[in-house]
């Protein structure tokens, strides 16, 4: 299985367009929107700190969601998944390799946002906070990696790209990764606070505020992870039976 992970990684790192979108693009947006001074309402965090977590989360989301769903759908239809089933690779090996390679790309996209924030916007945190932030955002990205796999097995052909885009932008914007959800009308805030992306960013912000992450956020993320991973596993088995 390691050789497949290695090859998936080689391929991901070779794809410049994908690397730009998942590694550079979040940092670029960070620089564009973190210009205001002062604090974000109700958080006690400076704009730069607030946006840094949003963009690190957004970058990780991009890395794990965008590449995989489309590729899985394509490779399923093209017959590569069938070909792999004629090797010693265990059935779930393909999905694990996809998830692992996505996770490896998501890590630099998180770190690059942090580096840019520290170097350009003078964001300063304690050492433990940097480590905890990186760990929490990276670990949280697995929730969305599972979602990417589920979409890859759910949709096919031309449908997979629009579905991925809708889910990706919907989760990013409504979850408050692009602008604080406190700027939404209150009915929308009520919906947004149940989204996994909202809980995801809240995780990072709690660490910035030197607090332990809220139990509710962790519960939401765990629930969504179980939902997405369970859905992916179910769709995967269904696909295997009809392949």
């Amino acid at each position: 299985m390691n050789s497949l992970i290695k090859l998936e990684l080689t391929r991901a790192l070779r794809n410049r367009k994908f690397l730009f979108f998942s590694v550079i693009y979040p940092s670029v947006i960070f620089l564009l929107v973190s210009n205001q001074t002062g604090n974000v309402d109700g958080s006690g965090l400076s704009v730069a700190k607030y946006v840094m977590v949003s963009m690190a989360s957004f970058g990780a989301l991009t890395a794990v969601l965008m590449g995989n769903s489309e590729r899985i759908a394509k490779e399923r239809e093209g017959g590569w998944v069938r070909q792999l089933r004629l090797t010693t690779l265990p059935g779930r090996g393909y999905v694990l390799a996809k998830t692992a390679s996505a996770a490896v790309v998501s890590l630099p996209s998180i770190v690059v946002v942090f580096l840019v924030a520290a170097a350009v916007k003078d964001v300063r945190l304690d050492a433990w906070q940097w480590v905890a932030l990186t760990g929490a955002i990276w670990a949280g990205s697995f929730v969305f990696a599972a979602l990417g796999v589920a979409i890859g097995y759910l949709a096919s052909g031309d449908a997979v790209r629009p579905i991925t885009m809708i889910v990706y932008f919907g989760l990013s914007i409504l979850g408050g990764l692009w602008m604080p959800s406190s700027s939404f009308p209150s009915w929308l805030q009520d919906i947004a606070k149940w989204l996994p992306t909202h809980a995801y960013a809240a995780l990072g912000r709690a660490i910035e505020q030197s607090q332990a992450p809220h139990a509710q956020d962790i519960a939401i993320l765990v629930a969504f992870f179980l939902l997405f991973a369970g859905g992916a596993a179910w769709l995967y088995r269904k696909d295997t039976l009809k392949a």
């Binding site: 090859l7 004629l86 010693t88 039976l241």
Partner: protein
């Protein structure tokens, strides 16, 4: 006479295997056994159930009923033990990686792998080892699939219509490589709808039609059965049909009147398993056939002819 041969496990054993899609019986009570070292062609027209049979053999699908054993184990176990290498019909490949990288992956995943360089050389891929997989021509991609199927020392090689999309010279080169594999004692099973291909390569031919095994024999035997020809001609005037019906090697005959102003004439259509002998005997009847035509039957029609013959024998 006592035999010293132990009850050898067949390479592949199908026992009363059926597979249905909706209302279509793709494979219908199929039983067969392949033995070590055989080169076997699975011959049949499109839709005969060849691909489904191979899918069942490779564990890509599960049978509705019956059992499939490969080297005495489940198909999946045989693959995990590295005993089976397979090339699927237009099987997908991983994009955006090089030929060498993909072949290396196949070698890494095989329990008894060959050296990457050797696999590339055998599939004539050395020259294009650094090319991206998605930039290959159809024939080159087919050679990559072949390389994936032969990345390790497997005992059984399964090929689903491997020469689809290859030109004549590529086809010949492909079968030359394949014969090498067979000469090393491997069992080779390939699906094809070309009778000529089965004839040239296989030492045993299984004919599949509508999911059932129609014939099982040497290529020559199948050729004699499936090599039926159609003979058609016109006869003028009133004719006696009885001697026509008794022509040798005849499997079917239809007589249709085609009356014209000049007088009545009949068009006779005959299917024969040995057209030369049938026509020779026809002249022996002392008639004067006009517009004589002898044509080969397509494989599909040949199968219908065999089926009809089988059914006639059974009733």
């Amino acid at each position: 006479m006592t035999t010293t041969a132990t009850a050898t496990t067949p390479v592949v054993g199908f026992d009363q295997v059926s597979k249905t899609y909706g209302s279509v019986r793709a494979v219908d009570g199929l039983s067969l056994a392949l033995h070590p070292g055989e080169t076997v062609a699975l011959l049949g027209p499109n839709g005969a159930g060849k691909s489904t049979t191979l899918d069942l053999l490779l564990g890509l699908r599960n049978a509705d009923s019956g059992t499939v054993r490969v080297f005495g184990t489940s198909p999946r176990e045989a693959i995990v033990n590295g005993r089976v290498g397979a090339m699927l019909q237009s099987g997908g490949l991983m994009d955006e990686v090089t030929v060498a990288e993909l072949v290396k992956l196949a070698c890494d995943l095989h329990p008894k792998p060959y050296k990457v360089a050797d696999v590339l050389a055998r599939a004539s891929l050395t020259q294009i080892a650094d090319r991206k997989v998605n930039k290959l021509s159809g024939g080159q991609a087919q050679r990559v699939r072949f390389a994936l199927a032969t990345a390790g020392d497997s005992d059984l090689i399964v090929l689903d219509e491997p020469t689809t999309g290859m030109d004549v010279s590529a086809r010949q080169a492909f079968w030359a490589t394949m014969r090498e594999q067979a000469d090393q004692g491997r069992t080779v099973l390939f699906a094809t709808h070309y009778l000529e291909e089965a004839d040239a390569i296989a030492d045993r031919v299984l004919v599949l039609h509508r999911g059932r095994l129609l014939a099982d024999g040497t290529a020559a035997e199948i050729k004699a059965k499936a090599g039926a020809r159609r003979v058609s001609f016109d006869l003028e005037g009133e004719i006696d049909e009885a001697p026509l019906r008794n022509l040798p090697f005849l499997t079917s005959i239809t007589v249709s009147k085609s009356g014209s102003a000049a007088g009545s004439s009949q068009t006779i259509r005959i299917q024969s398993t040995d057209a030369d002998a049938t026509v020779h005997a026809l002249y022996g009847l002392g008639v004067y056939p006009r517009n004589l035509e002898v044509a080969g039957l397509g494989l599909e029609q040949a199968f219908v002819a065999i089926t009809a013959a089988e059914e006639a024998r059974q009733s």
